[in-house]
Point group: C2
Chain length 812, copies 2
């Protein structure tokens, strides 16, 4: 069952009922100011850091589930309603929500009034614009009152929801004209405030939540709205909010619009005050000035749309499959950008409290995003590298506001360092910019401990070499990519975090996945060395890699598939010898991506085992059989009920590793079959089962052992986005950036006739038409550029900033 | 304006409208299982530790404010309502909530049905009983459906509200007959579960929140209730709840009752399972068995009431003032007990997340509670002492579940150690049990570092002696009693906690309050030494105390009042030289309690300054004038808007210090005037301004500089309770336990004719009749015990467990 449709021309997903199976959200903001907004206008916004600079308050896991947002109420002669249905939930004559790229528009109609609200965060602007357009679509004059509403968070989202003894005493506002300024704690150490204004005279306002809503009312029936009248309340402690009321008279056919600005301001320390106790409002007034008219809003929205149009031109496919096109051209790339921006910090499943920017996460996210805004990727790589420790290890996360490693979580996730090599290589391949290797970057954010970026990569590589276990495989540390496989944890106390508890000395448990990563990513390191003229180091590195390959085939293969690990007792994990968890997905994908088992059929066997034991109609589960009880030697993975999360859920992030592995062995049909199983556009029809947004990937879909098989969770912020984009764009469609140019190497279902990819690469626009007359999966038979035949399958790099036509013929 | 009344005979506060100015709550539970319950049945429960073992979920600062609780819904032919009005908010024909001692009863009537719900936690029982009595008070047959509802918390309240990526996957239940078992994470490291059962066959159930309530509905209109039918849903991830539905037919006049048990069970590790994946339910079934009938409920409630009757007999006054009597005899003592049990961990203003058992807090709480359950006090003293550090310092808090010092907060609050001496002395005076001094108690919970309790007290004393500043006054450390006076903090970053940030070396800033405490409490130490036969140590201690007295009078008196402190630059705090914060309350009370300034009129001057500069119609503010801006050298105190919290709020905790000081100088009228200003029973008439419960103290009442002057906040858990009970019972009514017996030394308003106090003391019951024929404030003229005159004013300790009549005549 569907709850909307893709509007491909407008790059929008159109939701046609407010009662989606779960709130279906969008993200606003591309730089420093970010917002989450649901299809009923729920959600919140923050500046840079969802924990430390929360602008508006949001209550997770509430009743109703999605409570709080930027709400508008229309009071119409005793009746009142909201254009987004929530929170009032009064029946609407029509409803539509359009989630676009960086904007959302919600339109509701009731009893002769149409209210359309456009929400977006303009480029280079620390705030949200809400434009409300009211139209009399009936045949009688209408006298209505429009109420706005936002609730302020007292900045630090964690303190905001725990420290009421303090919080209920600190709230402060100023109200000037049509603007409500929220200045809690500005009197002391803060130099920032927020404000909510409208470009019209107001009939009244409220800034105290209890005055507006009442102690016993919900968002669905604020006291002021039920009365049709604001109280002009001035918040003093308790919960500051901002609400305007505007009386509007509309003749039949008449339309009026109002532009609300919800903004965030930081003042320099010596310009904090206008006079004693009165905040300096100049920056706010300048922001308001930018959006005084609806024309200014239109113009700004168009700038944002053009910005996205250009970004998406970097990679564009025209195939015979509209679902594929909309995923590749719009939604997958959009999700990659959002995921990169937010890391794992703030979604409807991530509270913004517990997690900052992940080291492993962000380095992977860059793979899906580096072609869009490579400069931003470069900066992120340097920021990440600056949290690396001197021994090559890394803080697992850093806080976006401070960019400092998060001490509470710490490090010792032994896969982390390798991802830094992979992202840096991806950046250099995309841009050809090797200068990043010469950047001087601190270790542990300490500039006295700084070295060039190449040295950081070297330490990453040797962090594995220096931490090998009894079989010569890499020690796993706290965990590798699978945060929940905790082989050194052995926790029996429920109040211990699996992520930070280490009860073993970490010198025995080994990860076959890190071994595979070492081979796959180590080759990138060796290649970087070579291109830097360090042939000797390249040679040494290759030696280590070859050794690791041998070790994996000797100790890491279980007969029909790759093992997953060795536990702290030296016992196999992910082996036919195990009672449960006999086979894991990660190593099947990554070992073959790394080129292992290709010669002797082990790879094919392993992938056939994936098909046989792990594949389901909704995607590939992480392991099988699911753990039915807790294994203290395995940790969190066995703490989940069977079929959920890492315990045999369809953990989407690693499905593309299998897709890529399938392309490595040349099975394009199966690769694409796996692709379609989890790609959201293909899942749209079963939205009632899948429940999450049909335009973005979720982290997890419940596996076959779960009661809710097929139900997704944790949508939006997942490495799934980047890896699926890599899989489809580079390995299936086969347009892969490399140091010397774009490599063309598709691996597709044989029934495809062909497709065209438009690719911007180093300032040049390639239009690549792939034809498949012989209906093969793989193999470039011939290739021409601008009509001239080219040897091999690498497109030359042009220095001309121009456009080039490429024709690729597949065949044997 | 009032919202209810005191039912003195039943020791209940009766609330007559559900729409109180703020949720007015009660506490259930006396031992290990605790519940908060509002007058509309909102709130939650936990086992031992509000953070680590939260049984039911509660959302603080929600909209509506008090959302979530144990809710009952009555579905009556399409109509539905709740006996406590919330959450449905359907108009009731009548409503009444009775908050009693450890139980709450809520009765609502609508359309011919009366529903009465009794809530309590029985003694020696880890759970809540909810007895619902339904009566047909109309004249037609009624066919109704009763729905129950509780929502489970996933145990760790902090994780529960932040880690949704995990939480939404872990929820598990079992349902057998009329019992819903919540067993999330029992599969792995937990050995505990909870359950909700009813002593009747059910028509249906729900255990999945979304199935019961719906994604878009609120607690006010769960989908199942609006449909009149349960869905028999089995929770699997997301949010487990428990809801029963029972079809009930009632003839006119007919009554039926149902007993619900919400229980918590811990199983031994080797008895966790009944069979694979099936929890061992034996302990739960035994608990259910205890409350199968309404007679069992009645009996258990009576046991609880008798328990309280006996506790309250320890101190009982009969005066001419019913407000005084109800405060002293019931509500102040009740609050002392609750505050002792909970410390500052869980109220409607304390989220249960951030604070455990406070070292300073609990030691003070013991002063108000030790006469009720001295054995419990003894254990708490030992638990507290076990978190003391070897240098005499202390962790500021410990976690109730683990009893370990809280590392996140740490220590270095330099007043902390002294309070341990005061509580130990109070315990010994009450009981005569000196053996506590010989108990071997660890330092820092490390039994290898243990010493006898006397040694702990000695280290407390010398922690002050060893940490003196430039003027010879005690160094303040992070803060003294006033957590917000942070003289070594100098914080300019808003994300730093004032409580844990120390940017100065702590070697300059001094506290006059700790000096006063040292004199007041040091004397207790010297006396303990003397009674232990350590005359030399007693002598040395007295020498230090005398020196400190001199130092205070030399460097700590400002001409008309006592200074508060010296800051890190050696500048005065709380001096006429200051622009703001010229005078503070704490030292005026405590210095005079310690006997300073009595000889030369400084004390009288200081207390007259309190009257002149700090007293208001709603109580004594903490300082004056309020800080209008942030002082980096003073810290958090200046971070609050003027009139709130420590920044010139009426911070009730230290009002009794001034009351006591007034009795020290013999001004009984003024002492009692201050008492009445903040004692809740006297405030009842202005509940619309005061807003908090009129039966318990609040921590703070907004001061004269605040916009909401007179509005209280942070009710229930405050040291105010203990100190007011000390002030009224020991210093005003003047019945004071001492090592050698009860000291009788009233200090009352001269217009009083007298009063009678019944006091249980060391197994003996004294009935003490105080007569005031000459209408003096103070001075025992004569005293008889059982008709025999007694010299002095100390009642002898009898060894007879009997009853003794004491007659006291005041006069000159």
């Amino acid at each position: 069952m569907k709850y909307g449709y893709f509007d491909d021309d407008n790059k929008e997903y159109v939701i046609t009922t407010p009662q989606t199976p779960y709130p279906w959200i969008n993200y606003l903001g591309m730089q420093d100011f970010f917002s989450l907004i649901s299809n009923t206008a729920g959600g919140y916004c923050f500046y840079k850091d969802a924990r430390l600079r929360r602008i508006t308050r949001y209550r997770y896991n509430n009743v109703p589930t999605d409570s709080g947002g930027r709400y508008f109420y229309i009071y119409d002669n005793g009746d009142f309603w909201s254009p987004g249905w929530m929170p009032v939930k009064r029946d609407l004559d029509s409803y539509e929500c359009r989630h676009g790229l960086g904007y959302t528009s919600i339109t509701g109609q009731r009893d002769g009034i149409e209210a359309k609200v456009l929400f977006f965060v303009p480029l280079d602007f620390n705030g949200e614009i809400h434009r409300v357009t009211l139209k009399n679509i009936g045949d009688r004059e209408k006298r209505i009152t429009l109420f706005s509403f936002v609730e302020f968070c007292l900045w630090n989202a964690y303190d905001d929801m725990t420290n009421f003894q303090r919080n209920f005493n600190t709230g402060e506002v100023e109200i000037i004209g049509s603007t409500i300024y929220h200045k809690t704690e500005y009197r002391e150490r803060r130099n920032h405030y927020s404000f909510y204004s409208v470009n019209a005279d107001i009939s009244g306002f409220d800034s105290d939540r209890e005055s507006f809503i009442g102690l016993y009312n919900g968002f669905d029936a604020p006291r002021a709205v039920t009365a049709g009248k604001s109280n002009n309340s001035v918040a003093d402690g308790w919960s500051p909010i901002a609400s305007h009321s505007i009386n509007v008279v509309l003749q039949p056919g008449q339309e009026r619009d109002f532009v609300f600005v919800l903004g965030y301001v930081e003042n320099p320390e010596d310009e904090k005050w206008e006079s004693q106790g009165i905040i300096n409002k100049k920056p706010a007034l300048a922001m308001i000035e930018r959006f005084k008219t609806t024309e200014q809003v239109d113009k700004s929205l168009n700038v944002l749309k053009r910005y996205w149009d250009e970004l998406l031109l970097k990679y564009h496919v025209d195939s015979a499959d509209p679902k594929l096109d909309r995923m590749v051209n719009v939604w997958n790339q959009y999700q990659c950008m959002v995921t990169f921006n937010l890391s794992r910090s703030a979604s409807y499943f991530e509270s913004g409290i517990g997690r900052g920017i992940g080291f492993r996460d962000s380095n992977q996210d860059i793979l899906g995003f580096v072609h869009q805004v490579p400069d931003t990727a470069r900066q992120r790589i340097l920021d990440l590298a600056a949290t690396q420790l001197e021994d090559g290890g890394a803080y697992h996360q850093y806080q976006p506001l401070t960019k400092k490693g998060n001490n509470e979580i710490g490090g010792n996730f032994n896969d982390d360092p390798l991802w830094l090599i992979l992202s840096t290589a991806a950046y250099m391949k995309e841009t050809g910019d090797f200068s990043i290797l010469d950047e001087i970057v601190p270790f542990d954010n300490d500039s006295s401990k700084a070295a060039d970026m190449f040295e950081h990569l070297k330490r990453s590589f040797y962090h594995v070499v220096n931490n090998l276990g009894p079989h010569g495989l890499p020690l796993i540390g706290r965990a590798d990519w699978n945060d929940c496989l905790n082989l050194n944890c052995f926790s029996t106390e429920p109040d211990q975090s699996f992520q930070t508890t280490t009860n073993k000395d970490s010198k025995v448990a080994e990860s076959v996945l890190i071994a595979a990563m070492f081979v796959f990513i180590g080759k990138e390191y060796a290649e970087i060395c070579r291109r830097r003229g360090l042939d000797e180091e390249a040679h040494i590195a290759r030696h280590y890699i070859d050794e690791m390959k041998e070790t994996v085939m000797k100790y890491g293969y279980d007969g029909e598939w790759f093992l997953r690990a060795y536990d702290d007792c030296g016992n196999k994990v992910g082996s036919k010898e195990n009672e449960e968890g006999k086979i894991f997905i990660e190593t099947q994908g990554f070992c073959i991506m790394a080129g292992m088992g290709l010669e002797d059929g082990s790879a094919v066997k392993a992938l056939d085992s994936v098909k046989k034991y792990l594949d389901t109609k909704y995607g590939i589960v992480l392991l099988n059989p699911a753990f039915t009880r807790y294994y203290v030697n395995l940790g969190e993975i066995s703490s989940y009920p069977p079929g959920y999360k890492e315990n045999a859920g369809i953990f989407c992030h690693n499905n593309p590793w299998v897709m890529i592995a399938e392309t490595v062995i040349g099975r394009g049909e199966r690769a694409f079959e796996y692709y379609k199983k989890i790609a959201p556009a293909y899942v749209e029809e079963r939205s009632d089962i899948h429940r999450m947004e049909p335009y973005v990937y979720s982290q997890m879909i419940a596996g076959k052992d779960a009661k809710r098989f097929g139900e997704a969770k944790n949508s939006w912020l997942t490495g799934t986005a980047a890896w699926n984009f890599v899989a489809i764009s580079q390995w299936i469609l086969g347009i892969k950036p490399d140091y010397d140019g774009l490599v063309i190497d598709p691996c597709i279902p044989p029934d495809w006739n062909g497709y065209t990819v438009k690719r911007m690469f180093r300032g040049v626009r390639y239009t690549i038409t792939v034809e498949n007359p012989e209906h093969v999966c793989k193999g470039v038979k011939s290739m021409t550029v601008d009509g001239y035949p080219v040897e091999g399958n690498v497109l030359p790099v042009f220095a001309d900033d121009g456009e080039h036509e490429v024709r690729v013929i597949l065949g044997c």
